[in-house]
Symmetry: D2
Subunit: 142 residues, 4 copies
């Protein structure tokens, strides 16, 4: 299933429709974007850090939710607006090193109504897996 | 197990140590706080809302994480700083009505190293359950 | 939403269609069954026990899955055959005492396509919560 | 961290200590076993099948729990007996084809007290991912 929007088109939509996801100090960059997969980097701002300069748990959860939404928008354009997260589970494995983190998303099921994505969060500084998440999206509203 | 800190003492600690959890526009109020249980209300600010005025999923996940941390601080004082979330799972059941939401937390296991909490998020406007979450905390650092 | 089948009708269907769920040594009893809720007791056989006479984790997971299916059959009759488990999460909190365990099921969302149930597993011997589970069912096939 | 037991030693221990995990009609085979990873095949018996010859959800959950225990035994010998599952989450993505299924286990965190494993269940017939699971083990008893 080919992508319908580029990263630029997705972010242009988000800036219009969900400006709070891209508020001051929250800087996401799309590293790669292809059918069923994406890598998205977060350069965390002050509000997303814990003492010691590591990214907070809630910032990682927000990043997971955001990253999958980017991928669904790239696949379905504004029709992805109907997608709602029905379940998110995340395991925090180790504290990230200070520096950027990257969410590596992969759709492991991409059905007509249910989509399941697996997300690995990697600390770029030492290339270690810091969190493992799985998210279910339902197309059609809950 | 009696509480060692009041809500005021917990928030005074948080304002010192985790000011970003209580940043501008994020207003939490402790409704009730007792051994093993707490109700915490969120009056969401602009950044936490989605179009239509409903609280966003990431704001609810942050609220869950925050609420349990409040309860652990009340139980253990600053020793709870060692507590780390190891797993969080949340199901989004229905869109909340515009207005405040309340996290009702209950510790279903409070062990020496592992604590498990169940959190119901209720939309105050219509008293409906909007999300159901379970969180595991590990005392001692991951 | 009223129930369409009694416990007897549900078990009669199961004996026909899923005899392996009720195989030798797996004895389930319906304690209560009402709209949106059920209590189901397991008198575990040898194969479901661990040394010390406590019920095994896999036996509890099977019980959770079975119990919700009983409740969905009571609600929807054989149409529930289309229901498939899409996600199951379970936390094991403490080892059950030897003796029966009871699954207390509650539907926290009962939509047209998605149903979410919460299940508490209680050790009857000491009335303690031994496991906490949440299950999502999708009506319509995955 | 090198393995301390071979597959033969693990199964010899299991036949002694947990004969019910290897009861009649439940046939597991170790395909590969190495530090931090294992592939384990299930040739399901009658009791583990649903109409149509596909492996049931509870049989897959049991397989996940069993497979990780095999890997922990290989790593820690009988000391793994202290390991208890604290959380298991599984998403069922598609119905497996009739035929063997394989659990591909990978430890994504292997700490002194907490171990987290990711398990992919693959239908051997068409090489498709049928279920995705994550399990947390706690060494030391809950």
């Amino acid at each position: 299933m080919a992508l319908k929007w580029s990263a630029e088109q997705v972010f242009s939509f988000l800036r219009e429709e969900f400006p709070q996801a891209l508020r001051d100090g929250v800087n996401y960059e799309v590293v790669t974007l292809q059918p069923g997969e994406a890598h998205i980097r977060l350069l965390a701002g002050e509000q997303q850090l814990r003492p010691g300069g590591t990214v907070s748990g809630p910032a990682m959860m927000e990043m997971v939710d955001f990253s999958i939404y980017v991928l669904l928008l790239a696949h379905h354009k504004e029709a992805a607006r109907l997608a709602v997260t029905t379940n998110l589970t995340i395991s925090f494995l180790r504290k990230p090193q200070p520096g950027p983190i990257v969410a590596q998303i992969k759709l492991i099921k991409h059905g007509r109504t249910l989509t399941v994505a697996r997300v690995d969060i990697i600390s770029e500084t030492d290339a270690k897996l810091v969190a493992s998440s799985e998210v279910t999206y339902f197309m059609g509203g809950i």
